[in-house]
């Protein structure tokens, strides 16, 4: 049996989790909610994270548009995703939820905008 102590990162409570792995199954204790149980399991089997960053935007009322991966992606793909995000350049206008990069770094997850950026001439 293998045991791992983790801090849950799902919310600011930061519950101390204990994950036991035995006979191919995992049990999570120490969590205060269902999200914690799911996180504990995922973290020992295939850890994932939501990546947030910014992308340059032309012709808008902001010069950077903040973005995030629509869902969490495998942890070992974070820097591959960042490489694509850093190269990206978009033009205003952009709305929250617009796809900025489809299927980022082969993860099957899109990178989407997290702010509205208006075109400068529309202001």
């Amino acid at each position: 049996m293998e045991e791992r102590e983790l801090i849950c990162i799902c919310c600011p409570l930061g519950c101390p989790l204990t994950v036991r792995m035995e006979n191919g199954g995992t049990t999570v204790t120490g969590n205060s909610c269902g999200r914690g149980a799911e996180y504990g399991k995922k973290e020992v089997l295939s850890p994932t994270r939501v990546v947030t960053s910014t992308v340059s935007i032309k012709g808008g009322d902001f010069v950077m548009v903040p973005v995030k991966t629509r869902e969490d992606i495998p942890k070992d793909k974070i820097f591959d995703c960042m490489e694509e995000i850093r190269k990206a350049l978009v033009s205003a206008p952009v709305s929250i939820g617009d796809v900025i990069i489809a299927d980022c770094a082969g993860t099957g997850v899109s990178v989407i905008a997290t702010r509205n950026v208006r075109k400068t001439e529309d202001i």
């Binding site: 983790l6 801090i7 849950c8 990162i9 799902c10 919310c11 600011p12 930061g14 994270r49 939501v50 990546v51 947030t52 960053s53 910014t54 340059s56 009322d61 902001f62 010069v63 950077m64 903040p66 973005v67 995030k68 942890k75 974070i78 820097f79 960042m82 850093r86 929250i96 997290t114 702010r115 509205n116």
Partner: protein, 421 residues
């Protein structure tokens, strides 16, 4: 001079939530004054996720959280002025404001809600020896430069202070290709949330050096390196423990201070510990009709709590402008922080006019394990709850109920404290 029933200073999370609550409580005439060119305040540069789990039951980034409130304000047609700076809150709640369109003008407010937020503690407050080269930023300034203005702030960084902004910036710089060599924290515990230690430092193999500080900054034009040293229990550097790090950037994440120049000018009484106004359970300051909420009142760890607190300031301002019932004679019961509790907000309670429930928020002064949080009504203990871990970085709360206070008509003082047993 124009007139408005409620004037809100600041269009960040606190100001927006206060405006929304005030409108829902039935006040038409509200004005929000914001000095930036956009609403949303600091949330605009907090592009990471983790906001809104309490308020919206989903995980949002800062800009997404802000937009939810901006939408409410726009749907409710609540007016706001951007690029507008409040210079002074004068007598009888006459505000002097300035902006490009109107120049210098005045507004007479029925009630004022202070929602100006906070500022970062600067290098000058730390007494770190060394030159004053480029490359030293407060963490929030670096965050703004990177996330909003698109600058690269540096290639190799050391971060002093383990507040949440410092931790978030350690990850942010790493993702953008910089090398973060260490995070040094003067105290023996982190000032940030545990989840941020895990997802911002541990995930990227960045070491957190507790009980360490910067003892020297090198470089004349640009930072070329810093020296860290361990500190003893009196926080004095221990000779012989110095370690040198070459770097071009030093970020400071060493605390936030409520921005109360306007409050001071108005004569509002401030709390020495929080650096924010002293308030009662309606979040009313020492000047009647001036209310405070959000980080200008005390520094919060979660925006969700800011929104909740600001809603209370909004509804309180409405009952001040439009009293529903005859106000019964009011009492001023002192809420005292003691035994490991650094401060409480509010600091006073009006038992006669209070809502059914009042949340008292506070922070503890050290990391405690297996301690109780207790509440005393004068000398009688009325609540005693065990907590596994308490840390200064995380805000705590106790709830006071009107029905339980009704049993103590002669109550003079409420004490919130921690106890070993």
């Amino acid at each position: 001079m124009t007139e408005h029933d409620i004037v809100i200073i600041g269009g960040g999370p606190a100001g927006l939530a206060a405006a929304d609550a005030a409108r829902k409580a039935g006040i038409e005439d509200i004005m929000i004054l914001e000095r930036e060119a956009y609403l949303g305040g600091i949330l605009n540069q907090c592009i990471h996720n983790g906001f809104g789990l309490h308020t919206f039951k989903e995980e949002l980034t800062g800009p997404e959280y802000a937009v939810r409130y901006i939408k409410m304000i726009e749907e409710e047609n609540i007016p706001y002025l951007l690029n507008t700076m409040v210079l002074d809150i004068g007598r009888d709640k006459v505000l002097t404001i300035i902006n490009r369109g109107e120049g210098l003008t005045t507004i007479k407010a029925g009630a004022v809600i202070l929602a100006m937020g906070c500022r970062e503690r600067p290098r000058g407050a730390l007494n770190i020896p060394g030159f004053r080269p480029a490359g030293i930023y407060s963490a929030g300034t670096a965050q703004r430069l990177m996330n909003m203005e698109g600058y690269e702030v540096g290639k190799e960084a050391v971060i002093l202070g383990s507040g949440d902004i410092g931790l978030i910036m350690a990850r942010r710089m790493t993702l953008e290709g910089a090398r973060v060599k260490a995070v040094a924290e003067l105290m023996p515990y982190s000032g940030g949330l545990k989840r941020n230690i895990v997802q911002c430092l541990d995930d990227y193999g960045i070491s957190l050096k507790l009980s360490h500080t910067v003892v020297d900054i090198e470089g004349k034009e640009r930072v070329t390196g810093v020296t860290l040293a361990a500190v003893d229990e009196k926080r004095k550097p221990i000779p012989g423990t110095e370690e040198h790090y070459t770097c071009d950037t030093l970020l400071l994440s060493v605390g936030l201070i409520p921005e109360n120049e306007l409050s001071k000018g108005a004569g509002v009484q401030l709390d020495e510990i929080t650096s924010g106004p002293v308030v009662n359970d309606r979040l009313e300051t020492s000047i009647s009709g001036i209310f405070a909420c959000g980080n200008v009142l005390h520094v919060h760890d979660l925006v969700d709590y800011v929104s909740e607190e600001a809603s209370l300031a909004g509804t309180s301002a409405v009952s001040y402008v439009k009293p529903r019932k005859e106000k019964t004679p009011s009492s001023q019961i002192k809420i005292k922080a003691a035994g490991g509790v650094r401060y409480t907000v509010p600091q006073y309670l009006d038992a006669e006019n209070m809502e059914d429930q009042v949340k008292v928020r506070f922070r503890v002064s050290d990391v405690y394990r297996d301690r109780y949080i207790s509440v005393y009504f004068d000398s009688e203990r009325v609540s005693h709850k065990k907590r596994k871990v308490l840390a200064p970085g995380e805000m705590e709360q106790v709830v006071l109920k009107k029905e339980s206070l009704a049993k103590y008509p002669d109550l003079k003082q409420i004490v919130v404290c921690t106890e070993v047993e």
